[in-house]
Symmetry: C2
């Protein structure tokens, strides 16, 4: 049984919602108090193949921006993450795990450096705004922290380049991966990044004026005719196969960066300080107790995964799955989950205790899925 989403102002609509509804959205999720379209008229499997072959428009307005600006902006942003930001340049996007004083993860935004004293954190599902405001006030920092009127629209898939060129001109090809620049759109200037929550390539347009939303959508939609453009959303199969993690799903505040294989985003440089460094050093010293891995299992489609499923090795608890879905390409279920130390090697046999009570055989695999 699947329940409907009860509407209210609190679950915020977006500048694109009118078009999303007209195109037959069938499923919503909620991220940052904002609706995220998750399905349209096609199945998740049809959507997966379409994303790998064509181009899709995704309403990811729920990736809200936390703007940090002012004299102490760089200082506050560095306090919030173990990633060394000292060499970051304006125009760069940086994947930036945020941790608290216990090294527990709070979010994993993409940081956009607009200038030396101006940053956006493009956040996953938690109110980073309140964390940043609390720190700024408590530490007496000279910054403004707010949520601006910015709604990202993603253009994803192998034909994204062709579609974006039709709207923004050949300049789009000059944007390097995880870089952004300002491009003209109908006498306005919009920030466009080469980024997105898929492994199929594409862009994210940071619309900074809600009143332009339908015009932007319609322009992209019309330009996409002949390219098989379709409405889409982060695709569960594609993200699991690509090893793209989701805060609240694969990891929560109960997890630390080393459990999530974020080692490359953790600096232990003596000259760098950030909140939670002491706790993170201690975890590094002891070694992570569990790590996120891929788990392939069974040739029969598993049910939807709405909570964690235990992983067993010879009847001993060896970890848990957080997300699982049928892959039509690999003809098995693909999953992401935490494996405890001793059980995380590639090829380790496991038994998955699915939400429907079935026990299914599988094995640990490296990410991303081949």
């Amino acid at each position: 049984m699947k329940a409907r989403l009860a509407v209210s102002r609190r679950l915020r609509s977006t500048p694109f919602t009118k078009r999303i509804e007209a195109l037959g959205v069938s499923d919503y999720s909620i991220v940052n108090h904002t609706i995220l379209p998750k399905g349209f008229t096609r199945s998740v499997e049809e959507d997966y193949w379409h994303l790998r072959e064509h181009v899709q428009l995704w309403d990811v307005s729920c990736q809200r921006q936390v703007e940090i600006r002012g004299h102490d902006a760089a200082r506050l942003v560095q306090m919030m993450t173990p990633r060394d930001l000292r060499t970051a340049v304006a125009g760069q996007c940086l994947y930036t795990p945020l941790i608290d004083n216990n090294a527990g993860l709070l979010n994993d935004p993409v940081l956009l450096k607009l200038s030396e004293d101006h940053y956006w954190l493009s956040i996953a599902d938690s109110d980073v705004l309140l964390w940043a405001k609390g720190l700024a006030l408590g530490f007496g920092l000279n910054v403004s922290v707010r949520e601006p009127d910015v709604s990202p629209l993603a253009v994803q898939g192998p034909k994204a380049d062709a579609l974006m060129e039709r709207v923004f001109g050949p300049q789009v090809h000059e944007i390097k991966f995880f870089r952004f620049r300002k491009l003209n759109f109908q006498d306005r200037s919009l920030m466009v990044a080469r980024s997105g929550y898929s492994k199929q390539g594409g862009y994210e347009i940071y619309l900074d004026d809600s009143s332009l939303g339908l015009q932007l959508w319609d322009t992209l939609w019309e330009a996409g005719q002949g390219l098989e453009v379709a409405p889409g959303s982060p695709n569960l199969i594609e993200r699991v196969e690509g090893g793209l993690l989701s805060y609240g799903n694969e990891f929560t505040n109960a997890n630390n960066p080393l459990e999530c294989d974020f080692n490359k985003y953790c600096s232990f440089d003596d000259d760098l300080d950030y909140i939670g460094k002491g706790a993170l050093c201690a975890i590094k010293e002891a070694g992570a107790a569990q790590i996120i891995r891929g788990i392939k299992f069974d040739c029969n489609k598993c049910p939807p995964c709405a909570s964690t499923w235990p992983l067993l090795v010879e009847n001993v608890n060896a970890g848990e799955i957080s997300t699982a879905v049928w892959s039509p390409r690999l003809s098995c279920n693909v999953a992401l989950g935490m494996l405890k130390r001793g059980y995380w090697d590639d090829g380790q046999s496991v038994v998955v205790e699915c939400g429907d009570g079935t026990l299914r055989s599988g094995q640990v695999v490296d990410l991303p899925y081949k």
Copy 2:
């Protein structure tokens, strides 16, 4: 068209979800990253009459607790609210609007004072946990701030007293309004408050052990046979008529307490300090620019209200509606919204511009609805 809610671990299930699903939940909302049942097999109108006559069990686990404990706990809690907490006693529940340094509202939890150095904030939909953690760290306070394993279950309606006596004994009658005490449940002790998000009376049980969830639900359910017990949820009609506000719906961080008629929770005592006091004093001095009021309109049922609807007086914008629903008792639509200064008097005629484009006549009324 109503879209389904896409399930994932991130949208957390509760200790009662199995029973909620078995009882045919038809609609969910999301609050604090947790599912909130919003409808079952009956219509919202049938549910309204049932709530006014019988007794309902509500899974309000989404009212997460932010636990603040330790030497500086009282200090931190007072920093977060304009309400004077100096006379609060252990065992008391207090409605406690939280504001930031601009006097913008952040949440409106019920504060439970467990002891002089131990508090729970039973929160509406924003991550107060991150705000409190940020303040505690920044101001160097000696407190622990965490989300404990606590899932409130509400028992609401005129027969709640009878049902609760059958499970917890006659002691329940000794609990005064907005007070709580520990009562025995199967060799355990559970916190029970006389409170809840309706005007029909009842209790909230703060279950502090998820593994007891189904047992608690089943015990209440069995005891409710003969009392016409039913699964329920905060009822939209009943809450609008009762003037019960909802953070994210009637007010957001863009609003201040005086706009929400929270004057009685705002102390301007010289000896009391809290975050945002200066900003709040300035607003008080200038007077609120808008205030939340009731709006009755039209004798034809309005569509669901998923975003704000403009209010017009002689074609001039006079405010906006945030929540609206048909009242079968009053035979008109009832709404909550902000009226600008000059337009908020009882009886003021207004025109409502509904989401479906219709213009409907109405008038401003006092809260709660008669």
